[in-house]
């Protein structure tokens, strides 16, 4: 057993990355410790399936509802602030309240989508490891960030990755 911060290998394609991930799992690595980095999404591969989120659309719906409520309150409350006697007639009718409510519902949905993406992707973490610029050339990085000690067998798996020239790089 040896202690490392992160360890990765470069695979030539997604299929090789998939095999490497399977081998890592068989060697005793935990799935949540494995990172696969690529220059394009690989939806159909097993290693990508575990990162799918089902909560994102619901958060957006929640944001939209809040935005719509804010829009409704904005129109209804501000028009009531005018000291005008209208004999019970609304200054801003329902049709118009609907337009503003609609626009703010959509605006809130857009902003919530952006916010959820930034927070959950997550972005704004500039110095995260592992990373290798070869990803830009189409290689797929398979890395491991072990929380505890790393079994030696896992390191062996990374070294025999199909890339040949790559091998595991210790950080």
């Amino acid at each position: 057993m040896s202690r490392v911060a992160s360890l990765y290998t470069m695979c030539p394609d997604a299929a090789a990355a998939e095999r490497t991930v399977d081998a890592l799992l068989s060697a005793g690595a935990r799935r949540e410790d494995i990172t696969v980095i690529s220059s394009e999404p690989f939806d159909r591969y097993e290693f990508g399936q575990h990162e799918k989120s089902r909560f994102m659309p619901w958060l957006v719906v929640l944001g939209a509802i809040l935005g719509g409520t804010a829009g409704f309150l904005l129109v209804s409350l501000t028009t009531k602030s005018y000291p005008i006697v209208t004999g019970g007639m609304p200054i801003t009718p329902g049709w118009i309240t609907g337009i503003i409510t609609y626009e703010l519902t959509m605006l809130a949905a857009i902003l919530t989508t952006l916010l959820v993406l930034l927070l959950t992707a997550p972005l704004f973490r500039w110095k995260q490891e592992p990373y290798d610029v070869q990803v830009a050339d189409g290689k797929v990085l398979v890395g491991i960030n072990p929380q505890g000690d790393l079994p030696d067998k896992v390191k062996e798996v990374l070294k025999v990755c199909e890339d040949g020239a790559g091998g595991g790089i210790e950080r």
Binding site: P41, M106, V116
Partner: protein, 479 residues
């Protein structure tokens, strides 16, 4: 090491070539680029000078007079908001339809939306007599104790345009983030730092890809009704007013259709120039122009349908004030502009787009340029004749634009081109990662072809392959 079929497919997508071709315009700036920027910049400067002159002298230096209070400025406002429908709306529809040929097109289109919206939204401000109080449209607690009048369609415009602008910027920026990361990895020096900051720490983990794709999907769903609402509300600026030929229920769908029509035309023109001057012939294949040309043809027919339906109803209704405006445009002093508009929006584009032999890149480009001209004239003809001939003779008048309005109008076209050129110099104008996904899916859909072509194909061969792939992109897994 043995070569597996997966690797052969992977090699078909030559990342080096794609990266090189699409990052080349970003990394280099020729003398021609600076010349173009200088020329466009001069026109934009002239426009700002004209606006400065108007601010100094007062709105009277523009040609707008009672009763024609809306002239070139509002024409430009409606026109540019219409052009903005090129990008986000079309891109969102194509994304949701999973049209494979959209991949090289989407970013070119989304950029148009953002810049056209920025330019369009300037015009109500330019049109104001006191533009420095434009912020009164913003609903915020203030010392005046006043809130915007929500019953005014201009306030609806404020909300709709801002929502669309924020949505469009988000829709544009999200898929650029991975390309910024690519630029970070491929460039050195200050560019590496610059793009590193813009990449927001993107690495390309599977979680990031999933979140990005989910966000893009949600945005595509949300942005379509927003886009429709924007031009609907712009049409209500007119339709809510009891002015001859404005107070009509057909205006909302008519405006939305017109916006998409002019938007597609602007997109085609932009793509032709990009293809020619950035040497992107292999990445913007003719199939993109072919398909956009078909869409343009459809919108041309829809436009004719709306114009006919609107005018027939007014003619048959025979309301004196409305019929007067109708004949003003068809037989009166505006007749030349009207028939030029019909020729530009239907007469010329229809044969060019309907006849397959003529629907070439050149053909669609000519048709698109005429449509852009025709749609600007349409906006002008909606606004000016109706205002110049209202219900009572005391409210009749004429409109003649001044040099200030003409200069500002010319500057907006130059400004649009300038922003587009600058953007193409800073950001890959084609979404590189989406293109690679498209090529990979295309290669996966043709296993038999891939299996026999072990030798790496040339770029032009890949382009052909890609073109076929785009056409068959829905047939993943089938030979």
């Amino acid at each position: 090491m043995t070569t597996t079929p997966d690797q052969i497919k992977h090699d078909l997508i030559n990342h080096d070539v794609i990266n090189h071709d699409l990052l080349r315009p970003v990394g280099q700036a020729s003398a021609r680029f600076f010349l173009v920027v200088a020329m466009l910049g001069l026109v934009v400067l002239a426009g700002f000078s004209a606006w400065g002159y108007q601010l100094y002298s007062g709105i009277g230096v523009a040609g707008i007079r009672r009763p024609v209070f809306w002239g070139f400025y509002i024409t430009n406002f409606v026109f540019w908001i219409g052009i903005s429908h090129a990008g986000t709306l079309i891109s969102a529809i194509l994304r949701l339809a999973n049209a494979g040929w959209r991949r090289p097109v989407t970013r070119c289109a989304e950029v148009i939306t953002v810049f056209a919206l920025c330019i369009g939204a300037m015009f109500p401000v330019i049109h104001l007599g006191r533009p420095w109080v434009a912020f009164w449209l913003v609903p915020y607690p203030n010392e005046r104790g006043l809130w915007p009048n929500y019953r005014s369609p201009l306030v609806w415009d404020f909300f709709a345009i801002n929502t669309y602008l924020i949505g469009s910027i988000t829709f544009l920026i999200l898929p650029i983030i991975p390309d910024f990361a690519l630029c970070r990895d491929k460039f050195s020096g200050w560019r590496k730092t610059f793009y590193g900051l813009l990449a927001l720490g993107w690495r390309g983990t599977q979680r990031q890809w999933h979140r990005l794709e989910t966000a893009m999907h949600i945005m595509a769903i949300v942005i379509i009704p927003v886009a429709v609402s924007v031009h609907t509300i712009v049409s209500w600026d007119f339709a809510m007013t009891p002015v001859p030929m404005w107070h009509s229920t057909i205006f909302a769908p008519y405006f939305v259709a017109g916006a998409i029509f002019s938007g597609i035309a602007a997109l085609i023109v932009a793509m032709v120039f990009l293809r020619r001057f950035l040497h992107l012939e292999e990445y913007l294949p003719s199939v993109c122009f072919e398909n956009l040309g078909k869409l343009l043809l459809l919108m041309s027919l829809l436009w004719v349908y709306f114009v006919f339906a609107e005018r027939l109803t007014i003619w048959y209704g025979n309301q004196p004030a409305e019929v007067a405006v109708l004949w003003l445009t068809q037989k009166g002093p505006y007749r030349y502009l009207f028939w030029i508009m019909v020729a530009c929006n239907f007469g010329i584009p229809f044969p060019l787009l309907a006849i397959k032999k003529l629907r070439t890149i050149t053909g669609t480009c000519i048709a698109s340029i005429t449509v852009v001209v025709g749609m600007w004239l349409e906006r002008y003809l909606i606004i000016v004749p109706s205002l110049s001939r209202k219900f009572l003779p005391y409210a009749w008048g004429t409109y003649r634009p001044t040099w200030v309005e003409i200069t500002i109008t010319a500057a907006t076209f130059a400004g649009m081109a300038l922003l587009y050129v600058m953007f193409a110099k800073l950001v890959p104008i084609i979404s590189i990662w989406e293109l690679k996904v498209g090529m990979r899916e295309a290669s996966e859909s043709m296993p038999s072809v891939v299996a026999v072509s072990k030798a790496r194909p040339t770029v032009s061969e890949r382009s052909e392959h890609e073109t076929v792939g785009f056409k068959n992109s829905h047939r993943v897994g089938k030979p």
